[in-house]
């Protein structure tokens, strides 16, 4: 939030959104750095939106090689063999995303980031994780939480027409306008691990049943060593069995 002003180019390009969130927010966006892991449907959408918004940089992580399957829900991948042959998802998406906004630096990072040191995450202001095992999500969240700087942590998982997003903003201070007043508020976010460990009976009644379904599948994939999204109809008996167990454990009085 220093006195640096937006350039003429930024003002012209971002005019309509500056009218939504203000020039100050736009300045802060331009200085922020985002890490994104797992380039599938929702995350591709997110990347499009965050690049259009004008962040400082977006770093993509996904070493999986592009296949026909990848094309299904990802408009960042153009179905031309030459375009994606042999490349990783991150590489192909990086090329496309750059086009959306030349003022955003889009780059690729390779490797299993859950094994990277804490200092790697310090470079970022927000980390978005998808298509990742339960264990890795917890690890990355923990690393983010170890830093003195706030690194926001998000996970997102979509299964068919259902989706779930988790947010950890750590110790979050914000202001809220109520009528003429501005109130200072604060929320302490739980870690990912803490959040999903809350016994089910302790949760509010109106929590969507989708939450529980997601926990069951998540647990199943973790126990069976599957990649996220690799549970199929053949696994149904196993999943239902686990559901029964979890319900019993969690709902017991």
């Amino acid at each position: 939030m220093d006195g640096e002003e937006l350039t003429e180019q930024e003002t012209a390009l971002y005019d309509r959104q500056i009218r939504v969130w203000g020039a100050d927010a736009q300045r802060r966006l331009s200085k922020s750095h985002i890490l994104v892991c797992g380039m599938k449907g929702t995350v591709a959408e997110f990347c499009k939106n965050i690049v259009l918004a004008g962040v400082g940089s977006v770093t993509l992580v996904d070493d999986r090689i592009v296949t026909d399957e990848s094309l299904s829900a990802n408009f960042l991948i153009l179905p031309h063999e030459n375009h994606y042959n042999g490349k990783t998802l991150a590489e192909v998406c990086c090329d496309s995303l750059k086009e959306f906004n030349h003022m955003v630096h889009v780059a690729v990072e390779t490797g299993d980031i859950s094994t990277f040191g804490v200092e790697f995450f310090e470079k970022f202001d927000a980390v978005i994780i998808s298509c990742c095992s339960l264990g890795k999500k917890k690890l990355i969240n923990q690393k983010c939480r170890k830093l003195s700087k706030r690194v926001a942590f998000y996970t997102v998982e979509c299964r068919g027409s259902c989706g779930e997003m988790f947010v950890d903003l750590l110790d979050y201070k914000y202001s809220k306008k109520k009528l003429e007043e501005t109130i200072e508020c604060q929320i302490e976010y739980p870690s990912f691990e803490e959040a999903i460990s809350v016994p089910w009976r302790a949760l509010p009644r109106r929590v969507s049943k989708l939450y529980f379904a997601m926990r069951v599948i998540e647990q199943f994939e973790d126990v069976e060593g599957r990649n996220p999204g690799e549970t199929t109809i053949a696994d149904l008996p196993g999943v239902l069995k686990l559901r029964k167990e979890l319900c019993e454990t969690n709902v017991q009085y």
């Binding site: 003002t11 012209a12 005019d15 009218r19 918004a53 299904s72 959306f100 199929t232 109809i233």
Partner: protein
């Protein structure tokens, strides 16, 4: 319905999209990814830089090109085997007639103006094709579904008309910054740079409806031997000094109001201006002509002082005369015309200063003067997703699941999306229910021209009307009309209603049709002698027509140009904490609310308690209160529908 049936419903569908802008780009992308294979898209606009923050199918290199065509090309890159047919055209063109519309299975609107929406609504009704409407503004958005006979049509509920202001507020008693902007844009700018033959209220005093003597006409003409500096000062002194003094002389106006103070250039700039102004300009093309640049004012977000505003006033005036002489006399305000925006900002600010109204930055002023709709990519993406969801329901004829979905800025009951069941059609809607309207008018005084302009075109939204009295056509607008008919119609326009060859008097029933919209309505004429000049300045009162509640002020009004706000704003969605403008409707209340039942209640045969709702806002309150979290959706998850959860789905 299984997912295979759904997929084939999608694959075989022929979809029309109207609009390839903010919503359009997201929608086209989502439709393509969802498996739609035959999409037609109409948009008359070309791409501008300010679009690029959200209309992601476009690039800098596309600026100036057709949105429909570029959007098509961009989507074909990631879905090369589908069919997208672009039309770089105005949706109101006659080629988009009923024959065109009836080929489609569903029409999806992503428009930014009321006029076009009404037009499309009528055509969809005419051919009985489902319409999914939508709009966004900043973080707000909504998606609505319209099926003839089953749900409300787009016009069953009144839509807010663009805001207008009484003339006297603009010319004499501004109290808000927007009043100053309208003055600067529609009066001063128009007077100085626009068509001089147009009527202009600039010198009207509130106490005296007549213009000042011929002297005033001379004020804005450049005098012999006068240079730009002198001219500028003279104009400044006239509008900010002299005119204010004149207004002050009427004590009555200021009894209960704060008095403005006159501002003269000598008070702001004792010395000659050229010392301050006229820094070396980059001798560049007309495009770069800018008072701000010339004066070294860099930041459009800064609020300038009175002195700075005055400098911008003089400098922009000077630059218009120096660099854009040819355009003077035919200019209209354009928000993308930097110099025009600078001039209007400066003028509005000086006037605001005079009246004790807070000054605004160029950025803010431009938004107000240009009716700019604030917009981000994410809201459009959400709305596009919802449109596709509703479109699929429509194609599956899954009528119990149709929803009107509102995307809120702040959560209501911890939800950002509010799905509401659609209502039955409004039985009094003159568009889809063919209810006759009534018009009270003095048939001896009012001319046919007034009727055509103010009622048929403005209120009823018809573009090519045919007006009939019994079997005779008294007026029509169309192509290929015979010369003698054209002459007759022209003559008819100037006649009083009762003096038409086929006299229109009390008891006459007029039938008005728009063949393109395939829309027809009847109006019962009632003669009335007297009309209140202040409250009914048009001398005509239309009833049975659901009018959007607009500030009905005295005198004629001045608008701020068409509101391009696309989302239903506070009139439609009531949020607990927000400052909602609750506007009571008058005689139209019963027509609007009545006893309408939600679709699901209709099928169950129950009668809900909607009786006696006095106004729009409490009806919406009811809607909100009756909205529960849709628990049925939760049930789906624990059903046997594991397929959707587990199988990797190709969208």
């Amino acid at each position: 319905m299984s997912s295979e049936e759904q997929l084939s419903a999608i694959k075989g569908a022929k979809v029309l999209m109207v609009g390839a802008g903010g919503i359009g780009c997201e929608l086209l992308k989502t439709l393509a990814l969802s498996g739609f294979q035959d999409i037609h898209i109409i948009d008359m606009d070309t791409i501008e830089v300010s679009n690029l923050n959200r209309q992601f199918l476009f690039r800098q290199s596309h600026v100036g090109q057709s949105k429909a065509k570029v959007a098509r090309d961009a989507v074909l890159r990631f879905r090369p085997n589908i069919s997208i047919t672009p039309y770089h055209a105005n949706v109101k063109e006659s080629r988009f007639n009923v024959d065109f519309y009836k080929e489609f299975d569903v029409v999806l609107n992503g428009l930014d103006n009321l006029d076009a929406r009404r037009h499309v609504n009528r055509l969809c009704l005419a051919v009985d094709v489902p319409l999914v409407e939508s709009g966004t503004t900043g973080f707000l958005g909504q998606v609505t579904v319209h099926l003839k006979g089953k749900t409300e049509c787009y016009e069953c509920q009144p839509k807010p008309a663009p805001k207008t202001y009484p003339v006297c507020t603009i010319t004499s008693t501004p109290s808000k910054f927007v009043h100053c902007i309208v003055w600067a844009k529609d009066l001063l700018f128009a007077k100085l740079f626009g068509d001089e033959n147009l009527e202009n209220d600039l010198n009207v005093r509130s106490s005296d409806a007549t213009n000042l003597s011929e002297h005033s006409e001379d004020v804005f003409e450049c005098r012999k031997g006068e240079d730009i500096e002198q001219y500028g000062r003279r104009i400044y002194d006239h509008v900010f000094g002299h005119n204010i003094e004149v207004a002050l002389s009427n004590e009555e106006t200021w009894k209960n109001r704060n008095k403005p103070r006159p501002i003269y250039s000598k008070d702001v700039f004792p010395d000659k201006l050229t010392k301050e102004n006229g820094k070396t300009e980059k001798g560049s093309a007309t495009d770069d002509v800018s008072a701000m640049a010339s004066l070294g004012l860099k930041n459009p977000q800064d609020v300038w002082s009175l002195a700075e505003n005055s400098r911008v006033f003089y400098e922009s005036l000077r630059l218009f005369f120096l660099k854009r002489q040819k355009e003077i006399g035919s200019l209209t305000f354009d928000k993308d015309d930097q110099l025009a925006v600078e001039f209007v900002t400066a003028a509005a600010n000086i006037r605001a200063s005079s009246f004790g109204i807070p000054l605004h930055s160029l950025f803010e002023a431009k938004g107000i003067a240009g009716n700019i709709v604030h917009a981000v990519a994410t809201t459009n993406a959400i709305i596009a997703g919802l449109i596709v969801i509703e479109a699929i329901k429509v194609l599956k004829k899954d009528s119990n699941s149709y929803r009107m979905t509102y995307c809120l800025e702040h959560p209501s009951k911890k939800l950002l999306l509010m799905p509401v069941e659609p209502y039955e059609p409004n039985k009094s809607c003159y568009v889809c229910s063919e209810t006759p309207l009534s018009l009270e008018v003095n048939t001896h005084h009012s001319k046919l021209r007034d009727f055509v302009e103010k009622i048929v075109k403005a209120k009823l939204g018809m573009n090519f009307p045919v007006i009939m009295s019994g079997a005779s056509i008294i007026y029509e607008i169309g192509e290929d009309l015979e010369e003698d008919m054209v002459a007759i119609y022209a003559a008819n326009l100037e006649r009083a209603l009762s003096e038409l060859p086929s006299p229109v008097i009390s008891g006459t029933v007029l039938t008005i049709e728009d063949l393109q919209q395939e829309f027809s309505c009847r109006i019962n004429i009632k003669h009335r002698e007297e009309f209140d000049e202040e409250r009914e300045p048009d001398g005509m009162l239309l009833s049975g027509w659901v009018e959007a509640p607009v500030d009905k002020n005295n005198n004629k009004s001045i608008g701020n140009g068409e509101s391009t706000s696309s989302a239903l704003s506070m009139e439609e969605i009531q949020e607990g904490e927000k400052d909602v403008e609750i506007q009571g409707t008058s005689e139209s209340a019963e027509n609007v609310t009545g006893k309408k039942r939600k679709l699901s209640e209709v099928s169950k045969g129950t009668i809900p308690d909607h009786s006696g709702l006095p106004d729009e806002s409490s009806r919406n309150q009811n809607q909100l209160e009756k909205l529960d979290v849709d628990d049925e959706d939760d049930e789906l998850i624990i059903s046997n529908d594991w397929e959707s959860l587990t199988k990797k789905k190709r969208l």
